[in-house]
């Protein structure tokens, strides 16, 4: 369709350039045709001015004499008749007519993006309603939590915070996390999520406020991987790469089985290693599996541009999706994928992934906490 339109346009251009050949028979206007006429008109004008009494007889005569002299000199400069219908002309025109579309096509194939469709705003209602739904859901949830006489359940506030973080409303996310952080039931994860939000909100800089939360998180759970990661990031920002490197490495080596956050650790370790000439990290296990984006990944992506970040997340997601095609039994994988789709506002894909997870969960004990997460998420998505 689009190429057909291009073809028509190119054809039009071709025809336009060829057009002069069709009127080759008609004569052309030469100076001899036009200049004396203008001079003659000026003669008449002088005459009219004289008739109206605008100028004196003497003035008129002098002016007319001047113009007459110009007429004479024009008449004498008779031009040689143009060489008409020269074959060279026709050939040039033909070549030119071919040049136009070829030039455009060559340029376009290198610079154009014919695969990107137009998307009018009006056609994107689904995307918009989804977005509006999330916003609406978040504000409803917040209202309910705020009006709750008991201050609202901590899980609710955490979910709200995560939702806001996904929406990029980091200050709201921080406020929501902070509600929980002030409560006695605040867990290590509460503080590490809060720290993460604060770090992202500050362009990836671990500011003292974030540090305090990291401290709290590690106090509650010294093994909290996210908190450890941000602590290491803080060291790095303090220009203590060795300390940062060691911390990440030792935490990584504490684990015996694979966990999704390890990939980010490994990447960060290798980034520091490459810069400072430390030994690179060799993964102890097969690295065939590629996890999807984790929160920490997103944090790492915080200093990217919006576009880079979107591309980055998308590439991670598609890798994860491809892997799950091969390994459909990976429950955590499905949950991560679903969450990622949710972040990307791919509602139907998110529902689908959650449903896959739900199916796998049926084989799990019913008190598995993941059951609740999936149910809640599906409810939220309306699937």
């Amino acid at each position: 369709m689009i190429w057909a339109t291009f073809a028509i346009l190119a054809l039009v251009a071709f025809a336009i350039v060829l057009h002069p050949l069709r009127m080759a028979g008609a004569g052309i206007l030469t100076r001899n045709d036009t200049v004396p006429k203008i001079l003659a008109d000026q003669m008449q004008e002088v005459q009219r001015d004289l008739d109206r009494g605008l100028i004196s007889e003497a003035e008129a005569q002098a002016a007319q004499l001047e113009i007459k002299k110009r007429i004479l000199s024009t008449l004498r400069q008779s031009e040689s008749a143009p060489v008409n219908g020269a074959a060279g002309g026709r050939k040039s025109i033909l070549i030119a007519a071919i040049f136009a579309p070829v030039f455009a096509v060559v340029y376009y194939t290198t610079m154009g993006s014919p695969d990107i469709p137009s998307l009018a705003f009006a056609e994107r209602t689904e995307e918009r309603t989804q977005n509006a739904e999330v916003t609406e859901l978040a504000s409803r949830m917040r209202e309910r939590l705020e009006t709750d006489p008991d201050g609202g359940p901590s899980e609710g506030w955490m979910l709200l915070g995560q939702t806001y973080q996904r929406m990029g409303r980091l200050n709201n996310a921080i406020t929501a996390f902070e509600v929980v952080a002030k409560r006695p039931d605040a867990s290590s994860a509460t503080f590490s999520m809060l720290a993460e939000a604060v770090v992202i909100a500050n362009d990836g800089v671990v500011i003292p406020k974030a540090q305090r939360h990291i401290d709290r998180a590690l106090e509650l759970d010294p093994k909290n991987p996210a908190a450890t990661y941000f602590r290491a990031l803080y060291f790095l920002q303090q220009e203590q790469p060795r300390k940062s490197y060691d911390l990440l490495l030792s935490r990584l080596n504490e684990e015996v089985s694979f966990a999704p956050w390890m990939e980010v650790y490994a990447q960060q370790i290798n980034r520091i290693a490459a810069e400072k000439n430390f030994p690179a990290f060799q993964p102890p296990m097969a690295r065939a599996q590629q996890p999807g984006p984790t929160a920490a990944d997103v944090a790492a992506a915080a200093d990217m541009t919006e576009e880079d970040r979107a591309n980055f997340i998308r590439s991670m997601v598609s890798r994860l999706a491809a892997r799950l095609e091969d390994e459909p039994e990976d429950l955590d994988g499905w949950m991560r994928l679903a969450n990622a789709y949710n972040v990307l506002q791919e509602r139907s894909l998110a529902i689908e992934a959650y449903q896959k997870a739900q199916a796998l969960l049926e084989e799990m004990p019913s008190d598995d906490p993941r059951n609740a997460v999936v149910r809640e998420a599906l409810e939220q998505l309306g699937g």
């Binding site: 080759a24 200049v35 008409n84 990107i116 705003f121």
Partner: protein
């Protein structure tokens, strides 16, 4: 799909421009008719494809297609439709596309309408025009592609600047561009003439309508921009000597000089190389304006987001086009023979003085605008050159010019009779002086310069009317004869009278609103009364109203004069929640005598002593509307001249002779 069609169409336009830049000029030098004629087809083809591209971009804006980066950055789904449309030329890329569109419109105009121009001249002119086209189309495609895509598209656009959501502002760039890009064709004519090595009265006549068309649009564009600043910015000023205003004003000044010197070339075959130089410089200043606005060279409120790389590209274009044309000028212009002789007192001499003053004024504005840059480059010092300098340099020159303007049209060509001239203007000069003295006595106060300006404006007005009366022999012959004579005058003559009257009217507006402006700024709680310029204004309070995409605090002001209610004004302070911007909508009572200009700013910051009070700004700007009326007269005068049938003389009515010539040549 639409954006891609636009992108492809631009590529085709560039291809046609490339062809047009070579084939016709080759045809003209080798005398091959078919190549000469190809210019017509490609010029029309170019405008077609650029228009397709422009329409595609506009479509993307209208439907808010956020897969186009330019739409994302410069539009928003909530914008009112009119401003979505105007958003097409709201950004650097879009406005440049409009620029190129107008460039090709003028090219196609000459191709299609210039039926009285010989094929050779036309071919050369259109080739030169295509060189400019190639430069700017490639600039567009290589550095500022308006059709750059984003995928996946963001949910909504970024921009919703309410300040720019204004009809006057939306229409101002197209008109302004029409003006200063229009001078491109005059430039092309000039360069073509240099290449051909011939400038004669016929050439001047071919160029004249295009110069007029460009000048008329530029006049309208500048006036519209000034009008926008006046009522939208909220402090009642209409000219700020901002660099961006200056760069649109300089081509106007020089274009005005060009209009006048081309008359001398047309009537007397004189001033030839000077007219050519003016044609080149006028468009050069337009290019300079484009460069300054888009390169971030000078700071300005209006500048686009700056990008040195683009600046470098345009500077390259400038170097080639201005440098090239001036080098050609240096080479060929000395060969042009001088034309008819004239005496120190003659129409020619008058127009010479006009040109000298206009050129000096342009030079002063140019120098003042660029001086901070020059000084910074030479000594590293940073200074500001603001309105005080420009007023001091420019106003006296204009007064001088206006003095001559009254006399000029009364002078006859070649040699004028001084005694007769003085006798004819004695009366109006005395009248103007008397009126100026009377105004001094009546108004007592105001700067001396203002009275000098009043004198000049009155002199110009009266002398212009006197000249017109002389032409139609008003009071000398029976009234009916005079009317008949007026009907017989060429349109260009009426055009001149209108335009000169317009200048006089414009000046009076400027004098009135700058020298006798009065202003009251008060904290007003409901019930507060303010008196200004004979009006008693009662502030009745503020209410909150909702607009389509904003809410506003609307003040109510009852305006009384001698106790009678004259009108009620509702100035607003609008807040746009999405864009988080506040704008001022002034309420104006406009009459010929002056504007009562009211605006409401924020609530008083000190709410302890001024509880419930708002900041009110009330201005009385005497005669300010004469500025726009004067500008309208200038435009009308230009249009009147443009409609003069003499500008089309020489167009073949496909006369027998021409046809038989063609057959013979076959």
């Amino acid at each position: 799909m639409y954006p891609e069609i636009g992108h492809f169409a631009l590529a085709l336009a560039l291809a046609l421009a490339l062809l047009q830049s070579v084939l016709p000029i080759l045809g003209a030098s080798r005398r091959i008719p078919v190549l000469m004629k190809s210019a017509q087809a490609t010029a029309i083809g170019q405008v077609l494809f650029v228009a397709i591209a422009f329409a595609a971009l506009m479509h993307s804006f209208i439907v808010s297609d956020f897969t186009v980066r330019n739409v994302v950055e410069n539009s928003h789904s909530l914008k009112p439709m009119l401003f979505k449309v105007a958003g097409t030329w709201g950004s650097h890329e879009g406005s440049l596309l409009l620029w190129v569109l107008i460039l090709t419109v003028f090219g196609a105009g000459v191709a299609g309408l210039g039926s009285n121009i010989p094929a050779e001249t036309k071919a050369r002119t259109l080739s030169v025009q295509a060189w400019i086209s190639v430069g700017f189309l490639s600039f567009l495609l290589l550095t500022s592609n308006p059709f750059e895509r984003v995928f996946p598209p963001p949910l909504d656009g970024n921009d919703l600047n309410p300040l720019l959501q204004d009809v006057g502002l939306a229409m101002h760039p197209p008109l302004l561009y029409f003006g200063y890009v229009g001078f491109s064709i005059v430039f092309s004519f000039a360069v073509a003439a240099l290449i051909e090595g011939r400038v004669d009265p016929a050439w001047a006549r071919w160029v004249r309508p295009w110069t007029l068309a460009a000048w008329v649009s530029l006049t309208a564009g500048i006036a519209l921009g000034s009008w926008w600043a006046y009522y939208e910015l909220g402090w009642g000023g209409w000219w700020f000597w901002d660099p961006v205003e200056n760069v649109s004003f300089m081509p106007w000044l020089l274009g005005t000089a060009l209009l006048h010197s081309a008359i001398v070339t047309e009537k007397r075959d004189a001033f030839k190389s000077w007219t050519i130089l003016l044609a080149i410089l006028t468009f050069s200043l337009s290019l300079l304006g484009t460069f300054i606005v888009r390169s971030g060279l000078l700071t300005s409120v209006h500048a686009f987001a700056v990008d040195p790389e683009r600046g470098l590209y345009i500077l390259g274009l400038l170097a080639v086009s201005i440098g090239g044309s001036l080098a050609l000028y240096a080479w060929r212009a000395p060969e042009m023979e001088g034309g008819g002789l004239f005496r120190p007192v003659s129409r020619e001499a008058g127009l010479l003085v006009n040109n000298i003053i206009l050129a000096a004024a342009t030079g002063s504005v140019l120098f003042g605008t660029l001086y901070p840059l020059i000084l910074e480059a030479v000594t590293g010092e940073k200074i500001s050159v603001g309105p005080p300098f420009f007023n001091a340099a420019f106003v006296p020159m204009m007064l001088l010019l206006v003095g001559f303007m009254g006399l000029g049209p009364l002078l006859s060509w070649k040699r004028a009779d001084i005694a007769g001239l003085l006798q004819r203007v004695r009366f109006v000069a005395a009248l103007a002086l008397l009126a100026a003295l009377a105004s001094w006595y009546l108004l007592n106060g105001g700067p001396f310069m203002a009275y000098l300006a009043i004198l000049a404006a009155l002199w110009l007005l009266l002398a212009t009317l006197r000249e017109w009366a002389l032409r139609i022999r008003l009071f000398e012959v029976p009234f009916r004869d005079a009317v008949r004579r007026a009907g017989n005058l060429p349109r260009a003559s009426h055009g001149m009278t209108l335009a000169h009257t317009g200048v006089a009217v414009l000046m009076m507006g400027m004098i009135g609103s700058s020298a006798w402006k009065s202003e009251e700024i008060v904290f007003a709680a409901p019930g507060k009364e303010v008196s200004i310029a004979g009006f008693d204004i009662a502030f009745q309070g503020v209410e909150r109203v909702r607009g389509p995409n904003y809410f506003a605090d609307r003040g109510t002001l009852a305006v009384r004069r001698d106790g009678d209610l004259v009108t009620t004004l509702f100035p607003e302070r609008r807040t746009y929640p999405v864009a988080q911007t506040t704008t001022t909508e002034s309420a104006i009572r406009s009459t010929l005598a002056g504007d009562l200009y009211t605006s409401i700013a924020e609530p008083a910051s000190d709410q302890v002593n001024n509880a419930g009070a708002w900041t009110l700004r009330i201005l009385y700007e005497p005669l300010v509307n004469l500025i726009w009326i004067g500008a309208a007269l200038l435009v009308l005068g230009g249009v009147m001249s443009l409609s003069d049938r003499r500008l089309r003389v020489g167009a073949p009515r496909r006369a027998k002779t021409a046809a038989s010539d063609a057959v013979a040549a076959e």
